[in-house]
């Protein structure tokens, strides 16, 4: 998706491509609204939110190679902190630019708390512990309504303050510069700014001392340690960085929805975000972005299955809800069978899955043989 930015033919062409992309992104919510209706602008907002989440998880799973199935916990923490500090629940109404960094910090702290006891774990074992962590956070949110009501339990927290910038509340439809902006439009631009910032940070981290250390740990943790990398700190840093993105996305989500409940933070969400990364191309930013957008848009598009059935067959034969998940599953299976490296893999991943020389496989096999 962003691939063409990497290989511009000339400087002028690159600039033209960027301007074109910027104009397209700026007009996108209005184009989508005109073509598909207002509900699709909300889908677009969610797509951006999931891009942020997927890029965050990509740091942990894609770069550092730590299989984290509890990522949604950080999303939940960011969202709940926002709800606590900006809703009638505790009577606090702090502005979003105060709450969001706090949410990011809290999530980052929990990232370290999750990372610390799991440092010696890898692969399946790490996945199970992180999965448990994600569930613990959700169950806490579900039950912390008595004796002191902190989370309001399964009912969730309502009437969360919308984001307000320069006196403009993003919560209601308003006319600015002669254009009518709905809430979904405002949030689109807000999320776009955060998505671009996340992309920028992800790219910068990738090509840095820290990014290389993450990849080195993924490739061979023993060798990374023997080359002077403090694997404990660098792994904790990966957990914390990923969690910070999750926390920010959570805060944005709470403000956007105005309502949160534990139901939004189930294991399914963690798995979905992981699917986005795997489907798009693990560890490769353009792939991750594409994966996040596709897996947000595709299930929504499949909602039309009922209409299509009625148009083609005159009646709804299979419940669109069931068929939707079925097709979604089939798409994932086909993808993993025919293109396991993802839609836009990095050159490294492509090689891993289509190794002509089998060196990669050998390396994997000998990964831990010198450990006591």
């Amino acid at each position: 998706m962003l691939e063409f930015l990497h290989r511009p033919r000339t400087r002028a062409q690159a600039r033209a491509a960027i301007i074109l992309l910027a104009v397209l992104l700026a007009l996108l919510p209005f184009l989508v609204e005109a073509g598909l209706g207002r509900s699709w602008v909300r889908v677009l907002d969610f797509a951006l939110l999931y891009v942020i989440l997927a890029l965050g998880l990509n740091i942990v799973v894609g770069y550092a190679g730590l299989l984290d199935l509890g990522f949604v916990a950080f999303y939940a923490l960011g969202a709940y902190l926002y709800a606590w500090l900006a809703s009638p629940h505790f009577g606090l109404h702090l502005p979003f630019w105060v709450v969001l960094p706090l949410g990011a910090g809290l999530a980052g702290l929990f990232g370290v708390l999750l990372g610390a006891p799991t440092l010696r774990l890898r692969g399946d074992y790490l996945a199970i512990v992180t999965l448990g962590f994600g569930e613990i956070i959700r169950i806490f949110m579900n039950n912390l309504n008595a004796p002191v009501n902190i989370t309001n339990g399964p009912q969730g927290i309502n009437l969360i303050d919308p984001v307000t910038i320069a006196g403009v509340s993003f919560g209601k439809t308003q006319e600015l510069f002669g254009i009518t902006f709905a809430s979904a439009h405002f949030y689109y631009y807000l999320f776009l700014v955060f998505t671009l910032a996340t992309l920028f940070i992800a790219y910068r981290l990738q090509d840095s001392r820290i990014g290389r250390a993450w990849v080195a740990i993924r490739e061979d943790e023993v060798a990374a340690a023997a080359m002077g990398i403090n694997t404990r700190n660098i792994k904790l840093l990966a957990f914390a960085m990923g969690a910070v993105f999750g926390g920010v996305a959570g805060g944005l989500f709470a403000a956007f929805q105005g309502f949160i409940s534990p139901e939004s933070f189930t294991l399914w969400e963690s798995i979905l975000i992981l699917c986005m990364i795997v489907l798009g191309g693990m560890g490769h930013i353009p792939g991750v972005v594409l994966g996040a957008v596709l897996l947000t848009v595709l299930p929504e598009a499949l909602r039309y299955l009922g209409d299509w059935q009625r148009a083609a067959l005159g009646e709804v034969v299979v419940d669109p809800g069931d068929l939707r998940m079925l097709l979604f599953g089939v798409a994932l299976v086909l993808m993993m069978v025919y293109r396991p490296e993802g839609l836009i893999p990095s050159r490294q991943r492509k090689r891993e899955f289509h190794a002509e020389d089998g060196v990669a496989a050998q390396e994997q096999a000998s990964l831990y043989d010198s450990r006591a």
């Binding site: 910068r204 981290l205 840095s208 250390a213 340690a225 080359m227 002077g228 060196v359 450990r371």
Partner: protein, 256 residues
Amino acid sequence: MATLLNVNGVSKRFGGIHALDEVTLAVQEGEIYGLIGPNGAGKTTLFNCMTGLYSVSRGEILLDGRPIHNRKPHVIVELGFARTFQNIRLFANMTALENVLVGRHVRTHAGVFGAVLRDAGTRAEEAASRERARALLDFVGLANKGRTLAGHLAYGEQRRLEIARALATEPRLLALDEPVAGMNPAERRQMAELFQRLRAQGLTLLLIEHDVKLVMGLCDRVAVLDYGRKIAEGAPNAVRQDPTVIAAYLGTEAAA
């Protein structure tokens, strides 16, 4: 010459097995010290104890007088002790240059904020790292392989890349675990020549090797391990004629 590395009575047990039994040796600054012995003698175990991958059960290891046993591997690297692995352990899906850059990690400092903001200091550090990494690739003869994935390099090139990566940590002592295993005679000569150049630069080398010819021609002193014990130490020629060593390699019957 000062002693750079002291191994004092180091023992390592795995359950009931004594992989290392009271091993004592001293490596002088600037020498090439060979560690030889039959398969399973405990050479690699000793390496792993020295570089922090294994804890030691008893005894102490001193680098320049400072204890390094039971320290974390990255601390030992920081103190100036780098190593390579018997079964090459490169970061296969990173380029050759990136592999060497990982070696620079311990001598550089940029954190998350430096990485994201790319301030002047971080840019300068990164540029210096890259320059140093390219120079090291050039030094080991991989100047034009910087952009090749490590896993795509030929076997001999991978061995040399591992050395470049270890050198990037700016070690005083470099431990090489069977660096010429599986190489043909021409490649072995090249490697021996590389080791000489390293020594000429003031580096101390510790070498596990099976190739007797290479060890005899290259090492100033060798120690022989057998069943976790040091059975001989001294100049290569003296050690070669030591009856205990011959017995260890060929069995007692042949020695008699």
